[in-house]
Symmetry: C2
Subunit: 406 residues, 2 copies
């Protein structure tokens, strides 16, 4: 597998992109992107589980249901989520499909729409329509990074990557971009990701590959099912490499590459979480099942008290055990063991059988002072384990979110 | 019902208290309290549902189980929670019972122990023992307010109140004190409350009265079952008024007074939440059941994005609907209606059938700029309703919690 840190959503053959300043963000910032494929794309998708789904999510679900998942274009705007906008919002999302289809000589049912930004405000359709029409003039394989910039909201850096895999049948490339989220509850701020590949994959297999990858990446930075109004990840496969993933071994290799790409994008989101200054891996081992391990790990990873302790470089591990204790999983506190470390999470044992060890406070503080470190909580109950990634909760998070709309 | 804002845990006849500076907080601050009754107290109690329960919670549960709930003294310390301290912690909690019993001529099984403060550090038993022995010399009905001060951690004001009720059988008094919690997840910072009464009540009835009151008060500022390692509320009834609650009407009147007292103490905790500058009542109506209304209201009340919007005086109501949508209750976003107001939550309608109304942004901002305001979300699904109380999430919360231990 070749990794290209400069790779983007247009690294796979046959994909082009455009990004323009449609006037949504102001100050000539990029705020609208198109992704386009001349060839039809088999498409897999996963959407928010929030019952207050945004209009583009509702429209995309309908589109993918009626059209056998053949897509050629994706239009994405920042600054307005088109959520909680009622029937006018639905009509505006459909209008975006229609305008993009007209500009790109496709049909509306071959266009997906993604939006991110403020909730509860109708879309400025004059700017959006003019933006789509203008962007359609600038489609190019060179614009992948610009597209990653256009979809940013509170992100501070564009997030993109590509990987290539040499299979017996030939080389295939996967490229992707993502935008991030408020990291205290990534579920509540919008996560968008678009991944493209020139491999030829059947629709059912593509959806399975996407779900496997998301469960090991984007779902490790959020509580399952606890998502924003707009969260969406798309995977478009246009087959332009002429390499079909018919062989099981090739599929597995492709799957590994897709997992890697999604995990890297997800970790980029954590590192660039709103106000985040630390990247923390939380491992839970010794659970009765992987599901229970995940539940405990996510409760720790989203605990404001744990995350403020990270921000203060304070190895206040009592908060970690306390978070585990309210995770809704049956536990025995006297079987709990806790380690921390920088490279490995087993460098320093803080808790043995629910009781503090005689560790030196300075050693623990030295680990928590790092920009990145790892924690392992063993529950002593079984063989289930998981790892999730989280950040600290800082003053900057409050600043960003206390007045996000202005 | 007579309300006494200066009333305390010693307002009911027969209760005394003491508070001293045992050297736990330093700087001669009060940090250890005793509550004492010459007469035996029938006792009701509710404890944290956290499976990582602190040593005093474990010991109190045992004590109340073996001794038919007859209690005469409560010893409370701040600064150390005696949680995640293993078997030594259990022994220290028992030692606190024993020392208090010796000092007060009771038996250890008639003493309950409450602790709050940092987790994972063994109790400084020399200071604790000396403190209990010293405090026992100063028991007086005058020390109720001092006791409320001694149990404070990040609280900025002591929280106490008493109410008296004239029943046909005579007058009974209920007094109480509480200490607060980090308000982003009150479940994680410790909430302690001790309520005393001179009414004579049977144990079973007393427990029922307490549970009813807590469900309408302290459980309205927290997610049920999602509590800290130490959360405890005690209700001690010593019968010193010689008024027995045998009559159903009298019991109901007493219950109303207890509910009022607990609701007031709970709201004091919200108002004094860590870094809180706003007090917000969140009503959910039109739910299928009261339980579903409560689940939605609590998800809104604990959403960091909602609470940071409160901090910024930003009427970003999309976050309120989005929080409802992830609450785990089946909803129809197009049936949702949302109002806000200062005195009543129906002054200004922001959302009708899931779509923004044509309200003036300045009107909404004027409500959110207040120190206290109300929100009502109607789900349009049934007759279930609830109200919960929450605060905003501010920079001060981060400051308090990023370095709580130092």
């Amino acid at each position: 597998m070749q990794i290209n840190q400069e790779g983007t959503v247009t690294s796979a053959a046959g994909f082009t992109a455009a990004a323009i300043a449609a006037g949504l963000k102001g100050n000539d910032q990029l705020d609208l992107a198109l992704i386009f494929s001349e060839q039809n794309c088999v498409t897999a998708a996963m959407f928010t589980q929030n019952q207050v789904a945004a209009a583009p999510v509702i429209v995309d679900r309908e589109t993918l249901a009626i059209d056998n998942r053949i897509i050629r274009a994706v239009v994405i705007n920042a600054k307005n989520a088109n959520a909680c906008t009622g029937q006018p919002g639905i009509e505006n999302a459909r209008r975006m499909q229609y305008v993009a289809a007209n500009a790109l000589t496709g049909t509306p049912e071959q266009v997906l729409v993604l939006s991110t930004g403020v909730i509860g405000v109708q879309m400025p359709m004059d700017k959006i329509e003019a933006g789509i029409n203008a962007a359609a003039q600038y489609l190019s394989p060179e614009n992948g990074r610009a597209a990653a910039k256009a979809i940013m909201t509170t992100d501070t850096i564009p997030k993109h990557l590509s990987v290539s895999v040499d299979l017996p049948e030939g080389t295939v490339t996967i490229g992707g971009m993502a935008k991030g989220a408020g990291m205290i509850h990534p579920n509540m701020a919008t996560m968008l990701a678009v991944v493209t590949t020139d491999a030829a994959v059947e629709a059912v297999e593509l959806q399975e590959l996407l779900e496997t990858a998301v469960n090991q990446s984007f779902n490790r930075i959020s509580i399952d099912g606890d998502t924003s109004t707009n969260d969406t990840i798309l995977l478009l496969a246009n087959g332009a490499s002429n390499v079909s993933l018919t062989d099981a071994a090739s599929q597995a290799q492709f799957g590994d590459a897709l997992n890697y790409l999604c995990r890297e994008l997800a970790q980029m989101i954590v590192r660039d979480g709103e106000g985040a200054t630390k990247f923390v891996e939380i491992q839970v081992t010794g659970a009765r099942s992987a599901a229970e391990a995940h539940q405990v790990a996510n409760t720790i990873a989203t605990s404001p008290l744990v995350k403020t302790a990270f921000a203060g470089s304070d190895p206040n591990w009592g908060r970690i055990l306390a978070a585990a204790g309210r995770a809704g999983v049956s536990l025995d506190q006297y079987k709990m063991n806790l380690w921390i470390g920088v490279e490995q999470p087993d460098d320093l044992q803080l808790v043995a059988n629910g009781t503090p060890t005689g560790y030196a406070e300075a050693d623990a503080a030295a680990v928590f002072a790092q920009d990145a470190f790892k924690i392992r909580l063993d529950l002593g109950l079984g063989a289930g384990s998981t790892a999730v990634w989280t950040s600290d909760l800082t003053h900057a998070y409050i600043t960003i979110n206390a007045d996000y709309r202005s």
